[in-house]
Symmetry: C2
Subunit: 320 residues, 2 copies
């Protein structure tokens, strides 16, 4: 299969559906809905909604039937980017090659646009029409997964730990003089860094990617054993995705990424920085292998499983 | 009935229940959960959860059966206060007599604590156990109400309009010289101000208070006609609450409010500022009267309706 074409096709369906749900914001304060739409329509791979739809298809559904759920997880992802970019957080001027939300609408409106995207993600998920095979119980389960994986024990904890990690790096780099060379990197500080980094990746990135496949499986009422296998696939894939992203940040072409080098500029903790690019790539490869093994254990439609495997491999190999 | 005692008793039950739900955040980043708890345990009247429980009882339920839903709406209210207080928004140093969240934990952690409280409000609502009379459909309806009333067409739009209103006031006060006297107040500018203010109150305050009674009614599967009547009661009550709050901000004793005068300091648009305290109080009284009339039309348990009427009257008369 041509996975890039598959992803692009599925992403296009999400891009067509988003405005429909977004039209529900029409009654809202005009600048607020404009700010929400600005970030929602900034493009991106739409990886999470594509994964959600593919996971639903593994268990016999049709992705086009659950587009509201796919759009909902993209809204949660978008809110997290808008808040992450704020001056109080990462202070990023660019996202996907365009000025960040707060650069266009101001900090206050960007905070509110993020709040509204997060809240209305649940609105879109919960108030939409689904085929009868999606029971109220399945919809409740999907919404509960989204809240848990995106909330205090999930994505937000990853971001909080990321903030704390900046303190860790400042401490580690205390010996850094005017030469710009890093302080002595001991085996212990690398070990502590790896532990912290794993926690950050697990929550900041892997939790929401895991939520995508879990929500697809929950909406299709997947058997518990297969739900657990596809969940494990999502977690390994999410960890792989973040390491690949960090490597791209070091190696990526600025035009391709639209934000290359910002991690290095912010002196963020990354595998590439701690272990070097080669070792980081080898870890990502190991994660991809484990993800594919978990996926192989899922009982479901082979074509949809192939699509998920293709997406996972693409995530590891992608160049932007 | 002694309404202050009733409210205090119901609020105490909410305060006892909150830590139980909050203990679910234990797996989260330590400073994040500390910041969440800091604002959740700051006290307050717990008006929204008390209203939610009373509305559930109007239709035959027992408030103690739906404490998770009551705690969920308080979490949404708390998130909105944490974000409203941020330097990028109202820049308030005090809330309920204590330093605001960002003054203790920094802007970034306060943004994240608000994000997590909002997300986990849905988590607590959706993942808790309820008696069997609360069907999955009723729970979905309650969650959908919360998302709609708190989201882009609801509470967040009120806050966005409030931000925009600061621009309106700056324009209106452009003639204000060093004497500190306001620029000429024309009938037209008062009319435009009243219109804007109504929009702000409707969304910033009344929407979430309406959500409280609507969620109680939805969880009890109230008949459509009574749902609409109690919803209208909530909306009038919410508008009355905000005018009373504005009057207290002008007249209130600083120790009682813990933040008196901050609206005047920020030159916020209020009924008291536009029309004077006397006219503002008369409007609040009219809203209370209409709210009680709507409530009278609800078919339900008289004792619970009396409690709601008592709360409404208390909201109008309260001194802090």
């Amino acid at each position: 299969m041509d996975v890039e074409r598959y992803i692009a096709g599925r992403a296009a369906a999400v891009n067509r559906a988003l405005p429909e749900f977004v039209s529900r914001f029409k009654g809202s304060q005009p600048l607020l809905s404009e700010a929400m739409l600005y970030s929602l329509s900034a493009g991106g791979k739409r990886l999470r909604p594509v994964l959600l739809g593919a996971a639903y298809e593994v268990f016999g559904g049709k992705a086009s039937d659950i587009l509201p759920a796919a759009c909902a997880i993209e809204m949660v992802h978008t809110y997290s980017l808008v808040h992450d970019d704020l001056p109080a957080m990462d202070d990023d001027p660019l996202r996907r090659g365009r000025p960040t939300n707060h650069r266009v609408y101001g900090d206050a409106m960007a905070i509110l646009a993020g709040d509204a995207l997060l809240t209305d993600a649940f609105g879109v998920l919960l108030s939409s029409k689904y085929p009868s095979r999606v029971t109220p119980g399945a919809l409740l389960a999907a919404a509960e997964i989204l809240a848990r994986r995106a909330g205090a024990r999930g994505m937000v904890s990853g971001q909080a730990a990321d903030l704390q990690a900046e303190g860790f790096l400042q401490k580690r780099n205390a010996g850094r003089g005017k030469t710009g060379r890093a302080g002595r990197t001991t085996a212990r500080s690398v070990r502590a860094g790896l532990q912290l980094l794993h926690y950050i990746h697990l929550h900041k990135t892997a939790d929401l990617i895991t939520a995508a496949v879990e929500m697809g499986a929950a909406l299709a009422a997947a058997p518990r054993r297969d739900f657990n296998s596809i969940s494990a696939f999502g977690l390994e894939l999410g960890l792989c995705f973040q390491i690949a992203d960090d490597i791209l940040d070091v190696e990526g072409d600025k035009e391709k990424m639209g934000k290359a080098g910002s991690d290095a500029r912010n002196r963020k903790l990354t595998y590439a920085a701690l272990l070097g690019v080669k070792e980081a790539r080898s870890r990502a490869e190991g994660l991809l292998r484990r993800a594919l093994k978990r996926l192989a254990g899922v009982r479901g439609r082979p074509a949809a499983k192939d699509a998920l495997a293709g997406i996972a491999t693409f995530v590891y190999r992608r160049e932007k």
